[in-house]
């Protein structure tokens, strides 16, 4: 294949924005987007709630400064303050830009973009389109990319980076339609492959493919992962499937009720009540359940999310998707009955370590979106800040790569390397004798993570988790791919995804064991308080000679001093 200037891996919000911006920055560049699902299927489409920006349409006194403070406080002071500055200052501009190119935002009475309150925010600044915000943003970006003639390689599964010395020469990917391994020589590669929270499998709100592929590829190429232990649990997953009921439901006035009929959030966040930040609300629900105040059902314990007092009209007009999902997956109509919910693994704060321009430590490799860790979310992401993150930093990464591509030589990938890649794939397909089922391993991984590396963590649990994961990695070597066909081998793809999850799960558990404090989403029963003296820093995990090697990085401070985080 002819060498590219930029290859973007991922067609979600981050990848598409990067593509658009790179084209705008330098129209002469040869840019390709490579994605394992059609761009419009990406998980960005699942974001219901909205994206934060201090437009001041709803609350006239809202400011960028307040947004910055809310984000830093929400992060439990682990976010880098210069990065948060960029995120929040760019927010109004990027939301308006999206508006200008066709995103159908809901509207206020004065015809400006509508905003609503969202967890952890001091002002109602979450911009939304009914409860399909991510879907409409992704559609808009995809439409614009089609308009601009972006070259897409749809249904290509990225396998590995081609590394020579200190820099990448491009990427290897499997064409799902033909099963062929193809080389994508490139001056620069941008990873925008989304999150890794699906490693919790059935206890996750994520799409089946949110398996952290980009992170795992970068990790295996020696690029450090940052803050992997921080996984956000969303307070309200549907009881049976883990699927998400958006925070919008609480933003519109929904109540959380335990089996005694109490609005129990009064115990944990008197002022903000149901609109407290996610980590706090998740822990509150989990505590209610652990202390016996949850409801019981054959499908597990849960509490109620009650919308009935909001009325049929509001539910139908503002929360139609929630109603549909609740009907489809729980058989409950929220107009008439409360929805059964419990916390579900939802978002990965950790990811590929980047600077504020999307650069990684490897020359020519960039990352943006949920797969990257800049870090703007620190120990806990605020609702509505992630869509913003993928847009702002997707754009920045696209711009940076376009500016810097000229610095690097055109990529070259040798025939031998392609062959080695094919051989590796083949060898994973047919172990002889005793074999393992990938489906079973995948489920066991989710179970051990939920149990040992879940909302409440503790040294002995985490050690057990690490043992389980390495055992699973051992057993993985015996996994067999039964589908022998080249054409659209989803069997092989799922096995490769499992490998990625296993590699990353190890970094999550190791990071969680190392961090002997409680901060944001990371709660240690044995170290219940935040320990700024020892742990006000980022953790790194780098693969050195086949072993996860821990490291650390300071947090960039700025205007805001460390404070206790209360709501």
């Amino acid at each position: 294949m002819k060498p590219f200037d930029i290859v973007i891996v991922g067609g979600g919000g981050a990848g598409l924005y990067a593509a658009m911006e790179a084209m705008k920055t330098n129209p002469a560049l040869n840019i390709a987007v490579l994605t394992k699902v059609y761009p419009n299927r990406s998980h960005t489409s699942a974001a219901q709630g909205g994206a934060n920006a201090a437009l001041g349409n709803k609350a006239k006194d809202d400011t960028v400064e307040m947004h910055i403070f809310d984000t830093i406080k929400g992060s439990d002071y682990l976010a880098d303050q210069d990065a948060v500055d960029v995120l929040c200052s760019e927010a109004p501009k990027i939301i308006r830009e999206l508006e200008n190119i066709g995103t159908p935002w809901s509207r206020m009475e004065d015809n400006t973009i509508a905003q609503r309150p969202f967890g952890g925010a001091g002002r109602p600044r979450c911009c939304y389109c009914a409860d399909k915000t991510g879907h409409t943003i992704l559609q808009t970006l995809y439409e614009q990319c089609l308009r601009k003639g972006v070259i897409f390689f749809n249904e290509y599964f990225a396998l590995s980076l081609s590394v020579q010395g200190s820099r990448s020469r491009g990427l290897m990917a499997m064409n799902m339609k033909s099963g062929k391994v193809e080389a994508f020589p490139a001056r620069t590669v941008i990873f925008a492959t989304g999150g890794y929270a699906k490693m919790y499998w059935n206890r996750s709100s994520n799409a089946a493919g949110n398996t952290g592929d980009g992170q795992a590829i970068a990790y295996r190429a020696g690029i450090p992962m940052k803050d992997m232990e921080f996984v956000q649990f969303h307070p309200t997953g549907l009881r049976k499937s883990g699927l998400l009921v958006t925070e919008g439901a609480r933003g519109e006035g929904g109540f959380l009720i335990n089996k005694d009929g109490e609005r129990f959030m009064a115990r944990y966040a008197k002022e903000k009540m149901e609109l407290g930040p996610r980590d706090l609300v998740s822990r509150s629900i989990e505590t209610e359940i652990l202390e016996g105040r949850g409801f019981d059902s054959p499908a597990g314990k849960y509490i109620h999310l009650d919308l009935t007092h909001l009325g049929a009209d509001l539910i139908k007009s503002r929360l139609p998707q929630i109603r549909e999902m609740s009907l489809n997956f729980e058989g409950v109509d929220p107009i008439e009955e409360p929805i059964p919910v419990r916390p579900t693994a939802h978002y990965s704060m950790g990811g590929i370590d980047t600077d504020n321009f999307g650069r990684t430590v490897m020359d020519g490799v960039y990352a943006a979106g949920e797969c990257a860790c800049v870090s703007v979310h620190g120990a806990n992401r605020l609702g509505g800040n992630s869509l913003l993150d993928i847009l702002v930093f997707g754009r920045i990464a696209g711009h940076t790569a376009a500016e810097e591509a000229g610095k690097f030589e055109p990529g070259k990938i040798s025939e031998e390397e392609i062959k080695a890649s094919v051989d590796e794939l083949r060898s994973s397909m047919q172990p002889s004798g005793h074999y393992e089922r990938y489906g079973a391993l995948r489920e066991e991984l989710g179970q051990t993570l939920a149990l040992n590396v879940g909302i409440f963590r503790e040294a002995s649990l985490l050690k057990q988790g690490i043992r389980d994961i390495s055992e699973l990695k051992e057993r993985f070597k015996k996994v067999r791919v039964f589908d022998s066909s080249d054409v659209f081998n989803t069997n092989l793809m799922q096995v490769l995804e499992l490998k990625n999850m296993l590699d990353l799960a190890e970094t999550v558990a190791i990071g969680a064991l190392a961090r002997e404090e409680s901060r944001g989403s990371h709660t240690r029963i044995d170290f219940p308080v935040r320990d700024d003296e020892k742990w006000h820093k980022h953790t790194l995990a780098t693969l050195v000679n086949g072993k996860t090697t821990p490291g650390e990085k300071p947090v960039t401070m700025g205007r805001y001093e460390l404070q206790e985080r209360t709501y």
């Binding site: 299927r41 830009e97 066709g102 879907h135 989803t490």
Partner: protein, 358 residues
């Protein structure tokens, strides 16, 4: 507060309970379309019988089969929540999302009791088993400029918002629900005969762009829509709307494009106009469409014979064909209807004028 033991008990209990939740199980057979172009000369069906519990979806059943019975069974799925549009397939003959289709609901719709038939979407090239090629649909989105070409100058981007009324938002709100699952595409009667046809999802998207005041290429898009294989080829069979997984009133969008075309381009401009006149005439005369003759009058006899006859034969067998012309009697109360129709046309015109002034 939370000792480790309590924690473990909590989770252990949960898993145990899930295991016990086996009440309401039934043996269900999935008869699944199989085709691997590498080895099969033609498609065939495989039967998989599994014990399915109440509340399980068709997609979860297929996942189960893939994990436990036959890992080579191939289909697409991603969000598993009815939002990404990956998992469109035909279940018991109807195109829908497998991730939101309940097995127990499907059991009521089986031709053969207890056997749920699962096939790929129609009118798109088959890649393998239940996986079809989406590229033709994307190509059509490009051909019909399914994007906003903003009136905001590039230099001004991001500086200020367009002001958009809630009323305008509601005009395209529903249309932006479309997740491009292609269920409507698979059900469209014209597409089965003519693969070039614009297709309902693309018409819907075109409509959505055309009523957006931020867009600047309304006329370009419309000019493409009235060409051959465009908006006038639709037979108004309503199948797309009936099968839309997001209950989007697709037909309203199609009507609206046609009205818009007549309004903006006059009734005499292309092959479409012939169709339009035929369409109007029918409604006014009979209060009902004479669907059977509609394609003949628009596309000519030869085209109709070549493209639609095979399908018509099949439809007759299935008793879906609209009755041949002499059988279409003027609808009851045709006088009242005609008056209403005229008033309606007037109304539509006024509405349109209003909205275009904004």
């Amino acid at each position: 507060m939370n000792s480790r033991k309590e924690l473990i008990n909590h989770f252990a209990l949960m898993t145990e309970i899930i295991d016990q939740h086996q009440e309401g199980k039934r043996d269900v057979t999935f008869r699944v379309f199989r085709f691997n172009p590498q080895v099969d000369s033609k498609p065939y069906f495989d039967d998989y019988t599994i014990s399915a519990e109440r509340g399980i979806t068709v997609l979860r059943s297929l996942n189960y089969i893939k994990e436990h019975v036959d890992p080579s069974l191939s289909f697409r799925a991603f969000c598993q929540a009815g939002i990404c549009g990956s998992c469109g397939m035909r279940v018991n003959g109807t195109s829908k999302l497998s991730c939101t289709s309940q097995v127990w609901d499907e059991l009521d719709k089986c031709r053969e009791p207890g056997i749920i038939k699962v096939e790929p979407l129609r009118s798109m090239p088959i890649i393998k088993d239940l996986i079809v090629d989406m590229d033709p649909l994307v190509d059509k989105m490009k051909r019909y400029s399914n994007w906003i070409d903003s009136t905001m100058p590039l230099a001004e981007m991001g500086k200020k918002e367009f002001l958009v009324s809630e009323e305008e938002f509601h005009r395209y709100d529903k249309a932006t629900d479309c997740i491009l699952c292609a269920s409507c595409v698979s059900e469209c009667s014209i597409l089965r005969a003519n693969k070039e046809y614009v297709s309902p999802a693309v018409l819907l998207k075109s409509y959505r762009m055309n009523v957006d005041s931020r867009d600047s290429i309304h006329d370009v898009r419309l000019a493409e829509l009235v060409k051959d294989h465009g908006v006038w080829d639709c037979t108004h069979c309503y199948r797309c709307q009936e099968s839309c997984v997001k209950s989007i009133p697709i037909m309203e969008a199609i009507h609206s494009i046609r009205e818009d075309a007549l309004e903006c381009r006059g009734p005499k401009d292309t092959s479409g106009a012939k169709h339009a006149e035929a369409f109007m005439e029918d409604i006014e005369k009979k209060g009902k469409l004479v669907e059977a003759t509609l394609p003949i009058r628009t596309n000519g006899v030869v085209w109709t014979l070549r493209n639609l006859l095979p399908m018509a034969m099949k439809m007759i067998v299935k008793r879906r064909t609209p009755p041949p012309p002499p059988l279409v009697k003027p609808a009851k109360g045709i006088k009242i209807f005609r008056a209403m129709f005229r008033e309606m046309s007037e109304h539509v015109k006024q509405d349109h004028l209003k909205s275009h002034k904004k």
